[in-house]
Subunit: 215 residues, 2 copies
């Protein structure tokens, strides 16, 4: 097969990509421990040995998906935060900062996008991830630190401790956007809450969190 610019031939790249996509999808829908290597290779239409050949192990595959998706998410958030900073002379207001935090995962979760699978995967990683993933989540907070710094600048009258706690509350709002929780809310509200209206939900979250931050 012809070599691609990155040195892998197209066949290899296609197989690896198929495994990656199938694994992310199954992990996001069923949970990490409820998906076997056999499930993944079967869904991807490749042979059983592919996971170990291309990724080394099931856990390494999990970790690679985790690293790629969180990097993409953090990049988009950083981009929006930077843009907000540019638009407000380096001192964006609370709402603009929170929008940079909320919008990327929410917009990815739009019903028509494949990306919604990635969001569910990331949320699951927070509670079901391997030791290695949890280690990264707990210790690699440099990305969040930029948001905390921006919020401190935007709320000069609030103690730093308060800012951190409120940021924690905002993250909780995001992490609760799992399929099962939307379903529960749908039952509770007797259908009044429509998960599909992403921009409406973003506005609701921003209204709530902004008010909480300025309390």
């Amino acid at each position: 097969m012809p070599a691609t610019p990155d040195g892998e031939d197209a066949g290899e790249a296609a197989t690896k990509a198929a495994v990656f996509t199938a694994a992310e999808r199954l992990f996001a829908l069923r949970g990490f421990q409820n998906v076997s290597v056999r499930d993944i290779t079967s869904e991807a239409g490749v042979n059983l040995a592919s996971v170990n050949y291309h990724f080394g192990s099931k856990d390494a595959l999990l970790f690679e998906i985790f690293r790629r998706r969180t990097a993409e998410l953090n990049r988009e958030r950083a981009r929006m935060l930077h843009e907000a900073s540019d638009n407000h002379q380096g001192k964006p207001p609370v709402r603009a900062i929170l929008e940079a935090l909320f919008a990327p995962p929410l917009r990815w979760a739009a019903p028509s996008l494949d990306r919604r699978i990635s969001v569910q995967f990331i949320i699951r990683a927070r509670s079901e991830g391997t030791e290695e993933m949890r280690d990264v989540l707990v210790k690699d907070v440099s990305h969040l630190a930029r948001f905390a710094d921006a919020l401190i600048l935007a709320c000069p009258d609030l103690p730093r401790e308060t800012i951190y706690w409120r940021l924690h509350f905002c993250l909780g709002m995001i992490h609760n956007n799992r399929f099962a929780e939307f379903d529960r809310l749908h039952v509770l509200s007797d259908g009044a809450t429509r998960e599909g209206d992403i921009e409406g939900l973003l506005k609701r979250m921003l209204d709530f969190a902004e008010a909480g931050f300025l309390a």
Copy 2:
């Protein structure tokens, strides 16, 4: 052995209780799928067959822990909501309603209490539970409905849909109080956030959520 009032002898009750406690603890700390029946019986100091003899299966044991703890939590929340209702002529303000929702799981999470294990167990059940547990979580919302009704009464100017979404946001704040998330926040704030001050945290959560609700 002498029979106890409930018809079980003391030895049986003690073994069953030891299994229950050990299982809850291990599940809460390591996650449901990362704990084997062998781990549980070993920790409890009983023989391997005890789980199946006393509970039927590993999943049934999980479910029994889940049912007992959620029932206790919901009972305490209902009690506080009822009390708030009595204190405000049947129409408690938002803050009192939210306190009935927040305080029970938070106070149980106090560092010195064994109950903090129960709270972590319940939070884990939301994302890692079995099909049966997820079914209960999604469909049995009668307890939450009472909170929604109280909030609707307390906020006559807000559309019902808005109330439900904001209740969803509040639940997200609670569910994010996992050990790993507290650790992450601790790293991010460089030690400024002290998880141990439960009453302080409760006040912070109420300040944030109340402001969000009245926005």
